[in-house]
């Protein structure tokens, strides 16, 4: 802390506001300033101590302060001065301040290509004398509305009225709506990203060269091969397409392995290659989506976890110990869809994976408490390890023994299997699945009981306690007979995990008890209602009138996150990918090693975004390109206040313990 004292003098008012979101003004404030600035300028001038909140009437609730409630990760997030980076890209005419070195390894291609100039040295950001970084006026923004434009920058007041009018018109532009005609959108082909590479010409597909072209057009590849060069998995293309590339990759990797200096990654053109070696396996990610090395690495780790989840570590090790040349495709048979759905969720962009956190279904605290107590009462022996109710990938309730907690990376595998891969569907009975949860224990299998509530099922469970003998008359078979099936987003699953392979019938009776107690009372309809109303809408429910378009809020203590409804703006894959790319670059920038960044405000020509990291939460938010920093920070504060207020509805705190 002491060595930061000098910086803090520049950046933050003395004392309590160290953890609060701050304004930073630049002379060349970009095109995003609103005309409100002007009307408030006199107020600012007459009030020198802009940091003193007591001047502003009743203060809103304070965000948590660093150091007051240290999180488990406190070691990596010690309280520091607020380091601010302002990236203004891509036209390059503005100053870009980024931390040197820290992002050198991991700078996303996209950012690097877009940002025009970069001023070396973080000190320039905080050095008031630096010609580039101008006036760094800092003020806490936690003040009532109406006082938001707290900054006065001299040249702002010289804007002509016509300019102001234009500004006020364009403030409503949504993120990613501006189109640059001169630059080819690198995501233009994103719609085809998940299309399979066609078969060979003998199978009525395309010739080899065309197939290769299709294969190369994919923005993201994942490959897994054994250290002896045997292909194990490739997201795109069958082995005839991929084989030779696998050989090249194996040669490159083993060259560096031989030099005792393993290859971590390299860049070719706009494409980043990242390599992870896990025992006898090489994992390769090839991305043109601009993710950081750390992010790609964690994606590859997740694929490795999936393989361990199928095989367990001792099995994997012994397979290769006996025969290093083994073709792992056979022992992994049936795992490919899981790997692919995992890979595709990374390519689409998954907030859960990005934040390493879980999402919960929003429920009233009392409702969730009664669901959990019903769950605990239903527990009918059978050596239960974990019990969960999950609605479309969002946790509703968890019960667990006191000594074991759940690991997000394990749940990611489970949710991927149940809600993404399509391998297990509602309406297809109960499932009994041997699964290794590597973060819990990578040496052995657990057994997972899964049962979905049928979409139309409102009464007793259909399977074993089906008491009605009224079987319909034989229906003539027709291949197209539609069966109502819940889509994965609204299906409710009961997941019970046990270490015992023979406890199926015990867990089944737990499930039956649970279902009858949920359906007897109003609890199931509470869950259904919450699913139907979806995630809260940002503009109507969370923060009416906010300039923000989307946000991610992660509660670090609970390892859970929440976000608003993506509808309608980010519903389709392309805007969603752009949004997630932006989140990825924000996340990558604030989590870069040696980069103790607390607040990052980033302005691009199609969006503005803000990342705000404290020991208790992480907030990432996105707005249109013309939203001012003041409006942005105020919007961010509102979201944090909302999340604090709703904390016990948004997150499961503790869960049921038995």
């Amino acid at each position: 802390m002491a060595e930061d004292g000098g910086k803090r003098a520049h950046l933050s008012p003395p004392g309590p506001s160290a953890g609060e979101l701050t304004h930073i003004a630049h002379e060349n404030y970009s095109s995003s300033q609103e005309n409100k600035i002007q009307s408030h300028s006199s107020k600012l001038v007459t009030r020198p101590n802009v940091g003193d909140e007591s001047n502003d009437g009743p203060p809103p609730p304070l965000p948590p302060r660093p150091g007051v409630a240290p999180s488990p990760q406190a070691a990596t997030t010690k309280v520091q001065s607020i380091d601010v980076q302002t990236l203004q890209f891509p036209d390059g005419s503005r100053g870009t301040f980024q931390t040197p070195g820290a992002r050198a390894m991991s700078t996303p291609v996209q950012l690097a290509a877009n940002s025009g100039s970069s001023t070396p040295g973080r000190s320039s950001t905080v050095d008031a004398d630096d010609a580039m970084s101008v006036m760094s006026i800092v003020a806490p923004t936690l003040r009532p509305p109406g006082d938001l434009a707290s900054l006065m920058v001299s040249d702002m007041s010289r804007k002509s009225p016509a300019w102001q009018l234009l500004r006020s018109q364009s403030a409503s532009v949504k993120p990613f709506e501006t189109v640059r005609l001169d630059v080819r959108d690198s995501l233009a082909d994103f719609a085809q990203e998940f299309e399979p590479v066609p078969g060979t010409s003998e199978q009525g597909g395309l010739g080899d060269e065309q197939r290769l072209a299709v294969w190369k057009s994919k923005l993201k590849h994942y490959m897994i091969l054994s250290s002896s060069g045997k292909p194990i998995y490739s997201r795109h293309g069958d082995l005839s397409v991929v084989n030779s590339f696998m050989g090249v990759i194996q040669t490159i990797i083993s060259f560096y392995e031989g030099a005792d200096n393993p290859l971590q990654g390299f860049t070719a053109g706009g494409t980043r290659f990242v390599i992870v070696t896990e025992g006898p396996l090489y994992f390769v990610a090839i991305s043109r989506l601009g993710e950081s090395d750390a992010q790609l690495r964690s994606q590859l780790e997740a694929l490795y976890m999936q393989i361990l989840s199928t095989l367990t570590l001792p099995n994997l090790t012994s397979i290769f110990a006996h025969r290093p040349n083994t073709d792992l495709q056979k022992p992994l048979a049936g795992t490919e869809p899981l790997l692919s759905s995992l890979a595709d969720s990374f390519t689409r962009g998954s907030p859960s994976v990005l934040l390493s956190a879980l999402e919960c279904l929003k429920l009233r605290k009392s409702h969730r408490a009664s669901i959990t107590s019903a769950f605990l009462k239903s527990h009918a022996g059978g050596n239960l390890l974990y019990g969960m109710i999950v609605a479309g990938g969002r946790l509703v309730s968890v019960i667990r023994p006191r000594q074991h907690s759940l690991h997000p990376s394990d749940l990611q595998l489970v949710f991927n299997m149940l809600f993404e891969s399509g391998g297990i569907r509602s309406g297809e009975g109960e499932n009994w699945i041997p699964i290794c949860l590597p973060a819990f224990n990578n040496r052995g299998y657990l057994y997972m009981y899964v049962s979905f509530f049928d979409a139309a099922e409102n009464t007793a469970p259909s399977s074993t306690s089906n008491s009605s003998d009224a079987v319909p008359e034989a229906i003539p078979f027709s291949p197209t007979h539609p069966t109502p099936q819940a889509t994965s987003s609204d299906s409710i699953a009961i997941i019970l995990i046990s270490p015992s392979p023979t406890s199926f019938y015990d867990l089944q009776s737990t499930r039956n008890n649970l279902v009858s107690s949920l359906t007897k009372g109003p609890l199931l309809s509470h869950i259904r209602t919450s699913i139907q109303s979806g995630r809260p809408s940002l503009t109507t429910q969370i923060s009416p009138g906010t300039p923000l378009s989307h946000f991610l809020y992660k509660s670090r203590a609970n390892v859970q996150f929440c976000m608003p409804s993506s509808s309608p703006q980010f519903d389709s894959p392309l805007p969603r990918r752009k949004l997630m790319s932006l989140y990825h670059s924000l996340h990558g920038a604030v989590h870069a090693r040696h980069c103790h960044l607390k607040v990052l405000h980033s302005v691009a020509d199609d969006s503005t975004s803000l990342a705000w990291i404290t020991p208790t939460f992480e907030l990432y938010c996105v707005a249109g390109p013309n939203v001012s920093r003041a409006a942005m920070t105020q919007g961010a504060n509102r979201i944090v206040q909302w999340a604090k207020r709703e904390e016990e509805r948004l997150f499961i705190i503790g869960g049921g313990v038995f």
Binding site: T310, L311, K330, P331, A333, G334, P337, L338, M417, S421, G422, G423, I424, G427, E428, G429, E430, N431, W432, I433, P434, I435, Y447, M448, S463, T464, N466, S468, D469, A470, V471, P472, E473, A474, I475, F477, S478, P479, H481, P482, T483, P501, T502, F504, Y505, Q508
Partner: protein, 236 residues
């Protein structure tokens, strides 16, 4: 004809067979009357139930649909232990799947309950030229045409004769089915229901307990019996 005071009993049935022969598709056709192209492989095992109404009684099948991949094979005993019936499935277009099916039959005869009723089922009849008739006609008689199918567009690689004679040797029920069109699917389950000896149906919740059924083998219904009760009211 549904709910009379007929005696009702549970029958534990297990499906075994190589990966991707259509075990889950057969079950889904039987239980939900549904079919999905390109179904993802089963992971572990799925447990489903379906009732089958016979003239004198109601059979409730408790079906264990197992995954076909090799790495799940070690779990199979858990599922066929105490099972009263087994459906061993192969793919008509894939000879190796019949080899695997024979292995399963041998394992069942060695290790499962002695009285277990085993049905050998060749699936994917829609891919064969026999299947053409099935698709257009609605009910072809699958067992009538034996053993050829060298016509163009016929993907059949396992002749009816070959499988049928094997089934006869081993005293198995035998059917060729198409889960895609639904052809012969109900008939398989109805035939199994009929083949389960009354004596083993004392309990209504019979799947868990071992039920002394030694000496039932003689009662096992004969072979190529796909006429057996095919038109019975298996209301599924």
């Amino acid at each position: 004809m549904a709910d009379g005071p007929k005696p009702s009993s549970s029958v534990k049935l297990v499906l075994l067979g190589e990966a991707a022969v259509g075990k889950s598709s057969l079950v889904l056709r039987f239980v939900n009357n549904d079919f999905q192209e390109n179904k993802e492989p089963t992971i572990g095992a799925a447990f489903l139930t379906q009732k089958c109404n016979l003239p004198t009684r109601t059979i409730k099948f408790e079906i264990w649909d197992t995954a076909g991949q090799e790495r799940f094979a070690s779990l199979a005993p858990m599922y066929y232990r105490n099972a009263q019936a087994a459906l061993v499935v192969y793919d008509l277009t894939k000879p190796t799947s019949l080899v695997k099916a024979k292995h399963w039959v041998a394992e069942l005869q060695r290790q499962a309950s002695p009285g277990i009723v085993i049905a050998l089922v060749g699936n994917k009849l829609d891919l064969t030229s026999d299947g053409e008739g099935v698709r257009s006609g609605g009910d072809g008689s699958g067992d009538a045409d034996v053993a050829e199918g060298e016509e163009s567009g016929d993907a059949r690689k396992v002749t009816t004769l070959e499988a049928q004679s094997y089934a006869q040797e081993e005293s198995l029920l035998f059917f060729e089915t198409s889960a895609k069109t639904g052809y012969n699917v109900t008939e398989v389950f109805t035939a199994i229901a009929n083949a389960i000896p009354e004596t083993s149906l004392k309990t209504t919740r019979g799947s868990n307990q071992a039920q002394g059924r030694t000496g039932d083998e003689q009662q096992r219904v004969n072979l190529n019996a796909n006429s057996a009760g095919a038109k019975d009211g298996c209301a599924c």
